[in-house]
């Protein structure tokens, strides 16, 4: 088994202003399912094509935005291994007891240079609905809404992303699939722990711990079109799309949840092998890199975050 250590994104916890509106958006429109509500009011969601207990956590708060993103590692012992490496790198590690989120084992957590909290965990209960594993159908429960198949990745904004890059590569064994270098320095990085074009990405921004978007994977370009129909039918606020990214090659729509957190539906994207070189972009082609058909950034890309 070639893939050890950090496997993939596990879950993301977001703050929302209006919990009933958020639940309706992520379940009925995006296509997730509510697994449970915790005693502290946090709500846990999953896609029917995911095995683990949950992948989205919603927390009611007075400000929208990002609480944390957790990656799954292959074995419990690796949590101790990574705790040592992160500590040796010079970043303080804390420990979260099993059960702090329902169905999730112990976690380690730390704050990266851009100000975001990242966690690692190894164990998760499974929950329903989930795929059948013996003689499986293409889906066990038919997709609804935008038919999201999984929590795919997140894009986060903050300072010191050069340090984030160094940390993710040296301490967590991520690879940098693509990067944008402007005349005044590094603007953006796309990082992967596996064979997707990205699992997490960062854009340079003066304020720490800001959130650009959470992305949900769709099966294909037709499903992106269906998602666009749903966005108009339910008057969901759209940022841009359907369009395509040059970077990652993903087909996409950016839109907003009822609290103003940006969402993305994402289909396609190339396969990244660990021996692939980093793809690089400069200031002359960044428009095409971000929005391949428009060939320019929109007003909101660099300025609208929660």
């Amino acid at each position: 088994m070639a893939h050890t250590g950090v496997l993939r994104p596990g879950f993301i916890q977001l703050r929302v202003l209006d919990m009933p509106a958020a639940i309706e958006h992520y379940t009925k429109r995006i296509g997730f399912h509510q697994v449970c509500e915790g005693s502290d009011g946090r709500v846990y969601l999953k896609a029917a094509d995911e095995f683990d207990h949950h992948s989205i956590v919603l927390r009611r708060a007075d400000a929208a935005g990002f609480d944390l993103m957790a990656f799954k590692v292959r074995e419990d012992a690796e949590l101790d291994h990574f705790a040592e490496r992160v500590t040796a790198y010079g970043i303080a590690v804390d420990h979260v007891a099993a059960g702090e989120q329902p169905g999730i084992g112990r976690r380690i957590g730390f704050t990266i240079p851009s100000g975001h909290r990242i966690e690692l965990f190894a164990e998760s209960d499974q929950s329903d609905p989930k795929p059948r594993v013996h003689n499986p159908d293409v889906w066990e429960l038919e997709p609804h809404g935008m038919a999201a198949r999984r929590f795919d990745h997140a894009l986060l904004y903050g300072p010191d992303i050069e340090k984030n890059l160094d940390f993710f590569v040296k301490a967590l064994d991520f690879s940098c699939a693509e990067r944008v270098d402007m005349p005044d320095g590094l603007l953006a990085i796309w990082l992967t722990a596996g064979m997707k074009a990205h699992d997490i990405a960062f854009v340079k921004y003066p304020e720490p711990n800001k959130f650009h978007h959470v992305a949900f994977e769709l099966e294909n370009w037709n499903d992106v079109g269906h998602a666009a129909d749903i966005l108009t039918r339910y008057d969901i606020s759209v940022d841009i799309g359907p369009t395509r990214h040059g970077i990652t090659r993903g087909q996409t729509i950016y839109f907003f949840d009822p609290s103003g957190n940006r969402n993305e539906v994402f289909a396609g994207g190339y396969t990244y092998y660990p021996d692939n070189p980093t793809r690089t972009w400069d200031e002359t082609q960044i428009g095409k890199g971000i929005f391949y058909y428009e060939r320019q950034l929109n007003d909101a890309f660099l300025s609208v975050v929660t």
């Binding site: 202003l17 009925k28 399912h33 007075d62 907003f256 949840d257 103003g260 909101a300």
Partner: protein, 139 residues
């Protein structure tokens, strides 16, 4: 999980997201939104003020705007569309305290995407500069 989440039938409360519609028997009122020094927009009492301003800009009715109308998430989260209400009544839906403090709100500052005009309104744009938005209460 709940079977409810798989239902294809739309819920009426989903159409306007966080903003609970008024009772269906109430006819939307037509109101005028005046942007100080920039022009005016026609709106209804059942749409977000920012959406009415976007439409007016598209029709060339806000020619005095010093720059393109700042439009972000349209759902009270990002803070780009900060305005100060100088006159008029409005209905307020949730907006992020990271961008409008209680003191701001008491002084008439709101997010244009989070209000529904209930009378003619006069407002002034108070767009935050990039990366300098207020922060950071998260609880």
């Amino acid at each position: 999980m709940s079977d409810e989440t798989a239902s294809p039938s739309p819920s009426p409360t989903g159409i306007r997201g966080a903003a609970a519609p008024l009772a269906p028997s109430v006819e939307p009122r037509r109101v005028t939104i005046t942007v100080e020094g920039c022009g005016s927009a026609t709106a209804t009492s059942e749409e977000r003020v920012l959406v009415a301003l976007e439409r007016a800009q598209g029709f060339g009715r806000l020619k005095g705007l010093p720059r393109k109308l700042p439009v972000g998430c349209r759902r009270g989260g990002c803070g780009i569309c900060r305005v100060r209400i100088l006159d008029g009544e409005f209905r307020l839906t949730p907006m992020s305290r990271a961008h409008v403090s209680a003191a701001d709100e008491a002084g008439g500052v709101v997010l244009a995407c989070a209000i529904y005009a209930q009378s003619d309104l006069t407002l002034r744009l108070e767009t935050p500069s990039l990366g300098k938005t207020r922060s950071l209460p998260t609880n």
